[in-house]
């Protein structure tokens, strides 16, 4: 499972990288980017990525298998 950010939707509201910095980071344009590019292979990473997707005000984060 991997997290994906839709750059068209992301507005840099920062919730993902403020809360889950092991998976998300802040790009040079202020928008979110994925820093954990490998497979999300633990319960911790999966729950955190999903939580970020729930919290994103723009619905910009999805998880793909």
């Amino acid at each position: 499972m991997k997290a994906v950010i839709d750059p068209a939707r992301c507005q840099g509201k920062a919730r993902c990288f403020n809360l889950y910095p092991s998976i998300f980071g802040k790009g040079p344009d202020g928008k979110g980017l994925i820093v954990r590019t490998e497979d999300l292979d633990t319960d911790e990473l999966i729950v955190d990525a999903q939580s970020a997707a729930n919290a994103c005000p723009r619905g910009a984060i999805t998880l793909v298998d």
Partner: protein, 416 residues
Amino acid sequence: MTTTNINLSDPEVQRCPFGAYKALRDEAPVHRMPDTGMYVVSRYEDICDIVRDPDRFSMAVPMDFLFKTDAAKQYYRDHGYPRRTPLSSDPPYHTEFRDLLEPFFTAGRIRQWEPRLRELIGNLASKLEKDEPVDFVADFCFPLPMSVMTVLLGLPLEDHKILKHWTDVWVLPFSHGLTPEKEMYVAEEGIKLQRYLLDAFERKRREPADDLLTVLVQTRRADGSPLTTQEMLGFAEQAVVGANETTQNGLAMAMKELIENPGVEDRLHAEPGKIRTFVEECLRLQSPTAGMYRVTTQDVELHGVTIPKGCIVHLRFAAGNRDERHFPNPEKLDLDRRNAASHLAFSQAIHHCLGAPLARLEINLAFEILLSRRQHFRFARDAESFDYVPGLALRQLKYLWIQSDPAAAAARATAA
């Protein structure tokens, strides 16, 4: 059961609402409650869409709708400030307010609180280590979140009991059907809470400290202006109320699920990393915040039902969390469920619970510590005797008597 008769206010339905939820999802995904006139939305996808559509489904639900008598509303106006929390607002106002507070709930901040949380949890866990039955709700679930929030706000720890009382009363109107006398009592206690908080703001202005109330009194908007008293009260009331019932019930229901699902405890002992998914499954299955409200800003049609402008829509998170359209085999606590955390227990999008990371940390640490100290949790009394606080928006166990495994107790006695 015919769906037209389903009444979520009915105490019988509240005891075990899951059959009613399924009937609503399948037969009446937009259901007008016979007693309150609110429209209940119960499917996962619909709720996800609505929380992302603030233009048509506003969060600015007049909190007054909770009070039926003018006397109670008037008492608030005469003696304090109307009950209005920042949660009950829409963009752009909500966005601005939330952006001011979000920096205080980042991963880094929350990590700083962890040692204090471990200490509070460890102390409470020690008190559970008795050979006679203990009430997990009264002895653990009640004091933990309230102590944590009292400390984070920067209030004296011993005040957590009076704060607990005030917030228990504060949420009573969410049950509906209060007598006029009871509504008046809610208003009087609500004003006492406001006066307590106003004194605390004054103290923090004189003696700033590293706590949330100091953040509130020191925060400035982009134009340099401070938050208004109404805003500070709204946030502080929200913080204590949000921390109290919801986390308390998250903890209690997770213990109930742990005991009711054979094999889960053994697996958590063998694979502690699974505690993360266990907690999400409990939040999904029991959704301590069973639902939230919106108000329509225009006529909206959904599943062939027209919801007129100005109506209260009740988003039933607890029903969406068991929607088989999104969660296969939804009634099962599944430690391998890949989308467990996509539940609605904290809502989603702009109003996603600000305190969710804190609540998650509290519940995860609680079970990590409890499981490291004890094994074979079991009910101490007849498992049929669960009793819930009447209420529409919150699901709340009144008590949960648990007991040590006799073998474990014997081993402890031998070791001593």
